[in-house]
Amino acid sequence: MLNVINVNAAYGGIKALRGVSLEVNEGEVVAVLGANGAGKTTLLKVISSVMKPISGEVLFYNKKIPSVSYQSVKMGIIHVPEGRQIFPKLTVYENLMVGAFLNKDKKKVKEDLEWVYTLFPRLKERENQYGGLLSGGEQQMLAISRGLMGHPKLLLLDEPSLGLAPIIVNQIFDILKEIRKKGTSILIVEQNAYKALSIADRGYIMSTGVIEKSGTSKELLSDENLLKAYLGE
């Protein structure tokens, strides 16, 4: 469903992506791994049209992705950005409703709301608190839930486990499995390589703006040299 073809991107003079190609198939979970500053976040930004690539193209269902991010959302690409980016002056509830912005079916929205509240009961407790006053981990839960409220066809997750307690990290990955069962494809960027590969079908390994390696999760997990070289184990 998603084809990234030979994409180059840069911040001013600094090249962050160099000839990156990648694909995600319908119903797949794909992990992108790599060290700090490898360009993972930049890749997700390009896919969700937050950033314009210098060259190359991104196809979604064989159509060029739109040039502005709000239209990508309409097509079903939802990006849970790095650093949470929740709306500090909106309450938890309102943050979630913004996530459901394009969903006109009020009943469905309500159901979704109930669903994320059961996933993260903590959010229900904090329903009327301003997003900016949540703890770091609570904000992360909110960011993920807000993404889920948009009913993605393709969910882009940028380090979803960042700042979460181990027990919640496990929970998150369980939830991802569940979402995937519902038919959502997922592209996940993670520092926690094992966890990510444990739920992913395939993985890509990036370093300094280039895809160094790709393969099924099994292949990658069994290649010890690779893991040492790029993921530090």
């Binding site: 937050v50 709000y70 929740i86 709306f87 909106l90 309102e94 912005f101 394009l102 006053l133 948009g150």
Partner: protein
């Protein structure tokens, strides 16, 4: 006399309020005080005036023209200047400076192309005051208070109860992320500018009817700006209550204390109140959480 002064204060405050709503609206979205707001009102007044006086259109049509025209000018400001600055990712202060530049530009554009003269609307609606006992109440004041009332109810509903409002409030803190949620921010921003601009247009016509039309007439919006800050930045309700308080305060100080020091006392009081309520009457503050 007390009652008469109270009525005077409310009616002056009403004019400030009409302008202040627009300030609050734009502040609530983009986080800056749009100093060109008063000049949009001025341009609205000129559109209305030219329609009535030169094109000889009926008054109600001229009003509609003024309101739509000011709305469009407001959108144009956004398109030509503010949007570019947003895209540059410049600090919000730049928006305010650009607005000041626009304000100078508009005033002088009118001076150059229409002339510096003061213009009066032909007597289209009764400018008379109605007397209730000893108290004189201007008809225009009544109209402007009604508009304020409608505006505040409408805007409060719009901002707090509708999806439109949710989008605007989300966009106000983080435009990029709002866009990631599927909100077409450029569209909503344009809409808000149109709303603010039309309100300014209505205010402009009222001001023009009341106080004549001239290039610097938009400068009253300084008071509206003060009112919107005092009421709490970004809060429409706050802006209106702030405006009424300032209006009444000014009148009472002029009327009962000392007219020459009116602004001194008004500002003194405002500062004193801000010291107790640092984010104005209705401003929400989300603490900086480490």
């Amino acid at each position: 006399m007390f009652l008469q002064q109270l009525v005077n204060g409310i009616s002056i405050g009403g004019i400030y309020a009409l302008m202040a709503t627009g300030y609050a609206l734009i502040y609530s979205l983009l986080g800056f005080s749009n100093w060109a707001h008063g000049d949009v009102a001025m341009l609205g007044a000129y559109i209305g005036f030219l329609c009535v006086a030169s094109a000889k259109l009926p008054f109600y049509l001229s009003c509609i023209a003024a309101i739509l025209g000011a709305g469009l000018i407001s959108i144009m400001n956004e398109r030509l200047a503010y949007r570019q600055i947003r895209k540059n990712k410049a600090p919000t202060m730049f928006l305010m400076i650009a607005a000041m530049g626009l304000s100078v530009t508009f005033q002088n554009m009118v001076i150059v192309f229409i002339g510096p003269k003061f213009r009066t609307f032909p007597p289209v609606i009764p400018v008379k005051a109605i007397a209730i006992g000893n108290i004189k109440l201007g008809v225009l004041d009544l109209i402007s208070l009604c508009i304020v009332l409608i505006a505040v109810i409408l805007l409060e509903f719009l901002i707090n109860k509708t999806k439109f409002g949710l989008a605007v409030r989300a966009a106000s803190t983080n435009l990029n992320t709002a866009s990631l949620m599927g909100i077409n921010i450029d569209y909503y921003i344009a809409l808000v500018f149109f709303l603010a601009g039309s309100l300014a247009g209505a205010a402009g016509v009222l001001l023009g009817l009341k106080y004549t039309v001239y290039p610097q007439m938009g400068n009253v919006s300084l008071k509206a700006f003060i009112a919107s800050v005092f009421g709490g930045l970004g809060s429409v309700r706050g802006a209106i209550i702030g405006a009424l308080i300032i209006g009444i305060m000014e009148v009472f100080i002029s009327g009962f204390v000392i007219s020459g020091l009116r602004d001194l006392f008004t500002f003194g009081l405002l500062i004193a109140i801000l010291l107790f309520k640092p984010t104005g009457l209705f401003g929400i503050e989300v603490q900086d959480k480490a």
